[in-house]
Structure formats: structure tokens, C-alpha cells
Symmetry: C2
DNA sequence: AAAAACATTATTGTATACAATAATAGCTCA
DNA sequence: TGAGCTATTATTGTATACAATAATGTTTTT
């Protein structure tokens, strides 16, 4: 049980979180903070500090933390609080394996059965993602990329797939945030190609593209990179 | 808490699983109530009433409801409260499809790689399940059957599979509670055969057995059966 | 000086109090 | 009568207060 107690001071926590606007709900703000590593892996998430930062009571903080814990983006220890998750190499592989399993099942369902409206929505997601990337907002880009995959699952029509994928995407985002090295700008083209193959109804091509797309996540990561907790939390503009 | 614990010895496991009565936590009690249909599908779960019934504050009730909602066993509507989920035919099929996907992946991992200790634990689960069935405690039997599958996933070693399966098993249990007709007493033999095939390392047999096992869930259900929603009063015994 | 026991503080866990929203009942008026 | 409006009640949503547990620091003892 590794408690990394390079616990950032409350001031760091405050600074890390204040970036985001007050209009988003707590869960989303916390999530984005984690994706952008303003809250680094293993960082302790003190409830009172967070409550003050967000200007709400601990009640809402706890709710958000519990939801994040359900998605395994944070880990909660009884009577010891919540910490930003830090999946190691092994677990990261398991997460990516699981995601591939689900995504391939989604592709199987969605192939050839996408409606015109859904296709439009998916293309819009791609545009939005690229937009964020162009502005250097990697956190938002990461989230929107996830939203693209999630929307695809919704179009496929299997409810549990959507639900499971939501959690897996969250964790994948965390993995990319931890180990990624920024060389993932090919994402838009890959998404576009995938959509094209799905629309045409080419099942084997679609599967292949999805497999490669997910493989690129793996190759875009350096799992040897030791992610130090706390120190990166100060990186903010 | 219920499924999450790693038991180091069979004795601890027995104690943990067998425990009954007022010491169980709220989540589990609520869950059991739902499985036994003392809380029927679509029943509104009034927080204050539940708090009084269980002798705790709404805080703990809300926590449990949120967890159940995360597992999609209850549905929450903003400002309108929580209701016992009632998956219709379509969604039920989707749930069972999703479960099959995960369980087959689990079998693939577990086949030939089970340790002696894990095998023992699994066999114990089977015994406990049968014990509950013999006593006519179908709710407990249902839950323990789920715990068997979950433990198998744990033995397989992929963390996300365990997590996803937990939710799917909960929902499957709900489906069986809603549509099942009690003809599922073959479960023990099926579980035993599965374990045998996994130990031997026969992959295709293991997969086949798992597929059939899950198929039996489907055939054991009558999806035309209209389930009438009950009230909270039934929890009061 | 080191270790153990105690006291103090900080943090999480739970209950209660208050606010906001939805549901309901009782009017008013056509 | 009944449709629509208002007042009342019930229920959920949020904040605060209190309790239990863990972390920390200090003293005592050897």
C-alpha cells in the first residue's frame, strides 16, 4: 500500500484547481485537473481544501470524489481520504486491454448501422477535439477525444457498453496524462478514417482501424517514465 | 466493501460471506432487498423512510443509493429521487450480451492459470451458494452465485474486468429477480464443470461452458412477465 | 538519545439543520 | 364541474455541526 506523501501544500492544491471556471460542476473540474496533471497521480485530495477552493461544502466534494472513485480515477482509503489514481504499467495494460475489448464490440455493433444524424454529431466531435488541440488545450482535447468514443458507443446502442466505456476512457485519459509524450496528433485522421469505414460498413477495416488507433495510445506512452507526485501539480499557467 | 475485500484465508471468506443480520452495511441490505424483490422494480426509494428503517441518517442512505445507481441497479432522477431499476427486454439483452463479452474474456485469461488456493476459494463459493439454495434463501443464493463469477474474474487478474463485471452481475441479478422462474438449480453443476475445464486448461470447453451457462440465464427468464412495482412497506418486514 | 506513552491536532465519517425544488391540496372563477 | 392558480406540504439538495479515527507532536522513561 503505497501512500506517496509528497503531499502538496494546500496552496498548491488551491492554485492547481483555480484555473478552471466556476461554471462547470465539481466533478468535471476535478476530472479536468487530473487529466491536465494539475493534480498529479498520488496527490492526496483533501476534502476541506477542495471545498474551500470550489466554494462549496464537503458534501459536494465527497460526492464527486465517490464518483471519481467509481470510475477508478481516484482511489479512496477508509478513514484516510482520496488520492489521485496512479495505474502502474501492469494495470495500464489491463485497462487498455479492457478498452479494446469493449471498443471492438462497439465497432461490431455500429458498423453499417450509423444514422446520418449520428455521423454528423461524430464529425462535430472530431472538429471540436482538433480545435482544442490547436489551442494547446490538451486536457480539453483529451476529454473530447473520449467523448467521441463515448458517442460512438451510444450510437452502437448497447447501454452497458456505454457505461463501461465511460470508466475505461476516464482511466485511459489518466494513463495518457501520466505516460503520454504528446505525439498523438494523428488522432483526428484516425477518427475520420474510422467513421468512414463504419459508414461504408466495412467490418474488418473498422476493427482494424480501431485496433490500430488503440495501439497508438500504447506506443505513444513511455511506461518507464517515473511520474513523480505532487511536484507536477504546480505546473500551471 | 462487499465485493472488494481480498480475503487471505478461506475462513475469513466464509465469515465475510456468511455474515448476516444488522451489522451488514446499508448498501448490501438494500441490494439484497432488491434481489429478493422485497423492493420491486420501479419502487420509489424514499430517503427518509429508508433512513428510519435502517436506523441511520439520510447521508448513508444517499451514499448507498449513489453506489447502486453507479451499478445501474437503481435509477436516480434529479430532484425526484431514486427508483429500483426495471430493465426492459431490450436492455436486459444488452446487459447479458455485455456480460457474455466480459465473462468470455475472463475465461480466456483464467484458463489454465488458476492457483490451488484460488480453486479452493471458488469451490467454497459454490458450496455456499448451494447451501443458501437448500435453505430457500434465493436472494442470498443469487448474490453468492454472482460472487463466484466475480472471484473468477479476480483470479483472472484483469482489474477492469472485475470492476465491470461487478456492475453487470448486479444487473443480471436484478434481471433474474424480475423475470426468472426458479428453474436455475443447475447452477452448481455448471459452476463445477466450468472450474474443472479451467483447471485442465481446455480453452474451448471452458468458453463453451460459460456460454451455455449464461444462455441458461436467458432461457430461465420469461420476459413477457409484467412485474408490478411495490412499495417501501415491504422492507419493514 | 531512543522509544514508548500520552496529549494535541487534523481529517474523515455521520447526523442534523437549512434551502431549493417538486408534488399536492385547496381555492377561485369561469 | 373543472381548469387554472395559489398555498401548503413533502422530498430532495446542500451546508453545517458533531463524532470517530488517524496523524502529529510532546513528554516521560529507560
Amino acid at each position: 500500500m503505497v501512500f506517496n506523501d509528497n503531499y502538496s501544500s494546500p496552496d498548491q492544491l488551491v492554485a492547481a484547481v483555480k484555473e478552471t471556471g466556476p461554471n462547470l460542476d465539481i466533478y468535471r473540474q476535478l476530472f479536468d485537473c487530473i487529466l491536465e496533471q494539475r493534480l498529479a497521480p498520488n496527490t492526496k485530495l483533501n476534502e476541506q481544501d477542495l471545498a474551500q477552493v470550489f466554494g462549496v461544502s464537503r458534501t459536494l466534494i465527497r460526492q464527486s470524489l465517490q464518483r471519481l472513485a467509481a470510475e477508478q480515477v481516484v482511489v479512496m482509503h477508509k478513514n484516510r481520504g482520496a488520492y489521485v489514481a496512479a495505474p502502474d504499467f501492469i494495470v495500464a495494460q489491463q485497462i487498455l486491454d479492457a478498452r479494446e475489448l469493449i471498443e471492438l464490440a462497439v465497432v461490431d455493433l455500429a458498423c453499417g448501422s450509423l444514422g446520418a444524424q449520428e455521423i454528423e454529431a461524430l464529425k462535430l466531435m472530431i472538429t471540436l477535439e482538433q480545435e482544442a488541440l490547436d489551442q494547446g488545450d490538451t486536457g480539453t482535447a483529451l476529454r473530447r477525444s473520449g467523448e467521441f468514443h463515448l458517442r460512438l458507443a451510444q450510437a452502437a446502442g448497447n447501454q452497458p457498453y456505454v457505461h463501461m466505456l465511460r470508466g475505461l476512457i476516464s482511466q485511459t485519459s489518466l494513463i495518457i496524462a501520466m505516460y503520454g509524450q504528446g505525439g498523438n496528433t494523428c488522432a483526428r485522421d484516425e477518427h475520420n478514417e474510422l467513421i468512414a469505414a463504419l459508414v461504408v460498413g466495412d467490418k474488418s477495416l473498422s476493427s482494424s482501424l480501431m485496433r490500430h488507433h488503440l495501439a497508438h495510445i500504447r506506443t505513444g506512452c513511455d511506461f518507464n517514465r517515473r511520474v513523480n507526485s505532487g511536484s507536477l501539480a504546480m505546473v500551471l499557467r
